[in-house]
């Protein structure tokens, strides 16, 4: 017979109260685990999306005269005067230390062409790379492959009343419209999109590109470092990180995380109050018992030890069950968020922290009642006998 034996017997005897306490703390732990798991899953999803989102680094030629632009590429009025990037230099990107973080390199050439006497911007692309960068593109028909093929931006298609299969004269050369780009709401709607090599010939920019978009894997990738590294290998260019989207998304996620922590802290405080009030009630109810323990020679420490041990057992159980319930709730909630694309990941830190936090909260909330119990004078307690 040890003190643990008495504690377990007492918990078994007062099952209702023990279950109430476990449920109270369990709800708190489960809520915290659910919110943090959701935040974690959504964060991972956001990062994953960012990796697939498109370019987050743009390389443009250095230029002084700026009148027209597309995505940071400056075109000089009617006549393009900007210096272009040598396509051959792009292999230097392979030399940067963070090469493994480079997911996609999308070179493009840009220039003005003439259709039916009107000026339109043509963009030459590497179709495979571009479609990886612009996952939001929706093309009716098919993408360009090689030869004089065009995908036409929505505004251009409407302006020239173009349909798939139409033959379009560009600078006097025939091109076949193989795809219509659905409206994007961006400058892409204004483009004639052709294979890179075809556009280079059409624009008389063989071996040159007007800009390069790079998608860097963003999970822990040092974008700023990569910008510096790219700048070093391509000194005649401007290398810029496109971080607005990343930051906006991360800001939204931070807001959600902040909200989650706010709710979590509130729930934990409520849980702690619940434990405190219940334990206080239990101590009042057990004054007689405590009097007996003290009268037969239990030290204050023994009484404190018993009350805290009871709280530790209840809290540990709440922590473990709360974590499991929280994970269950997360698994149920995730399919309803982000179109079911966010997935739950085992997070040992969260699991251990949830149980530890439950125990710490349970013990802290039980400490005042435990101290009160231990400080009961035997004579005072025995008056209740």
């Amino acid at each position: 017979m040890r003190l643990e034996h008495i504690v377990l017997h007492n918990l078994r005897r007062r099952k209702g109260r023990a279950v109430f306490l476990v449920i109270g703390l369990l709800i708190g732990v489960a809520t915290v685990v659910t919110l943090l798991s959701l935040t974690d899953a959504l964060g991972r999803r956001a990062q994953n999306e960012l990796e697939n989102f498109g370019a987050n680094i743009i390389i443009t030629p250095r230029s002084d005269e700026l009148t027209l632009n597309y995505g940071g590429v400056q075109l000089g009025g009617v006549n393009l005067v900007a210096k272009e990037i040598e396509q051959a230099d792009l292999v230097k990107i392979d030399d940067i230390p963070n090469r493994r973080n480079v997911a996609t390199i999308g070179p493009k050439v840009l220039g003005a062409v003439e259709i039916e006497g009107q000026r339109v911007m043509m963009m030459g692309i590497d179709p495979d790379a571009e479609l990886k960068l612009k996952r939001w593109w929706s093309i009716a028909g098919r993408s360009i492959e090689k030869g004089n093929e065009l995908v036409v931006g929505d505004s251009v298609a409407k302006r020239f009343n173009l349909n798939m299969g139409d033959i379009l004269q560009v600078n006097g050369h025939d091109y076949t419209v193989v795809g219509l780009l659905a409206r994007t709401g961006s400058q892409d709607d204004q483009l004639l999109i052709a294979p890179l090599s075809v556009a280079q010939v059409e624009l008389d920019k063989q071996g040159q590109v007007s800009m390069v978009e790079i998608a860097a894997l963003c999970h822990d990738c040092p974008v700023d470092d990569m910008v510096n590294q790219l700048q070093q290998v391509l000194p005649d260019t401007d290398v810029q990180a496109v971080q607005q989207v990343v930051k906006t998304r991360m800001h939204a996620l931070d807001q959600f995380r902040f909200f989650a922590w706010g709710v979590a802290v509130t729930v934990v405080i409520i849980g702690a109050l619940l434990v405190f009030v219940t334990m206080m009630g239990a101590i009042s109810e057990r004054t007689r018992e405590i009097g007996i323990f003290r009268a037969i020679g239990y030290r204050r420490w023994h009484v404190l030890h018993m009350v805290l041990m009871e709280a530790a057992i209840v809290s540990t159980l709440s922590g473990v069950l709360g974590y499991l319930v929280g994970v269950g709730a997360t698994l149920i909630a995730l399919p309803l968020l982000e179109g079911g694309k966010a997935t739950w990941h085992w997070n040992s830190t969260l699991a251990v922290s949830a149980v530890l936090a439950a125990v710490v909260v349970g013990l802290l909330a039980s400490l005042p009642p435990a101290l009160r119990a231990s400080r009961l004078e035997p004579s005072e307690a025995l008056r209740a006998l």
């Binding site: 017979m1 034996h5 017997h9 018992e289 323990f293 009268a295 020679g297 030290r299 204050r300 023994h302």
Partner: protein, 235 residues
């Protein structure tokens, strides 16, 4: 040899604006091996005397020496150790822990000692056999009769082999038969050398004591070898 010496023990209780004197400079010595009865009307200070002897209520003044130990010179934690090692309490209403069986209730004082689990069990077993409850060990208090509960309480009080047993009206809630059984048991213990101080209202118990003190207004009014004729009739 005196096991207990109370020297001018005074105990006041403050009750609102009133000051109630429970023990009034009481002096008392008790020899080892005595079976002492404490009698007196309600409010005479019997229970307070037991509390003061049991290191449960410190006196307002005076000293309490038990087995050479100045009880109220000890720290609160040492007083707890003193209660565990020197005293056995038998309460008026048994005061068993309702969710522990008889054996576990008897083992209760041993739970905070360094004895092995087997030794604790053996001692509690022996004590329950001694009080005549070898077949009730695994019964919960509510499954025992009043007399049986009282015997479990006696076994619990004795399991630590304390030099002094303090009993507060142990037969107060028992019928005549159970009362007799409990008193016989206490007498047996006394005959084995146990020092017992028992508070009682029941004059029929006087025959079991070898010394009786009669309290009135917190003082010893009479202190006699048990002889009914020498005690006040008003008890």
């Amino acid at each position: 040899m005196s096991l207990i010496t109370l020297d001018k023990v005074h105990k006041n209780y403050i009750n609102g604006a009133d000051c109630v004197i429970a023990l009034n400079k009481l002096c008392l010595t008790v020899e080892e091996g005595t079976f002492l009865g404490v009698m007196g009307p309600s409010g005479s200070g019997k229970s307070t005397l037991l509390s003061v002897l049991g290191a449960l209520a410190s006196p307002s003044s005076g000293s309490v020496i038990v087995d050479g130990i100045d009880v109220y010179g000890l720290s609160a934690e040492k007083q707890a150790d003193f209660r565990r090692e020197y005293l056995g309490f038998i309460f008026q209403s048994h005061n068993l822990i309702p969710y522990l069986n008889a054996l576990e209730n008897v083992m209760l004082p041993l739970a905070v000692t360094r004895f092995s689990a087997d030794e604790k069990r053996r001692r509690a077993n022996d004590m329950l056999k001694r009080v005549g409850l070898p077949d009730r060990m695994l019964h919960l208090p509510q499954q025992l009769s009043g007399g049986e509960q009282e015997r479990v309480a006696i076994a619990r009080a004795l399991v630590n082999s304390p030099p002094l047993l303090l009993a507060d009206e142990p037969t107060g809630s028992l019928d005549t038969t159970n009362s007799h059984q409990v008193m016989s048991l206490l007498k047996e213990l006394h005959e084995d050398g146990q020092t017992i101080i028992m508070v009682t209202h029941n004059r029929e118990n006087l025959e079991w004591f070898d010394r009786t003190v009669y309290l009135r207004d917190g003082k010893v009014e009479k202190d006699v070898q048990s002889c009914l004729d020498q005690l006040p009739q008003a008890i």
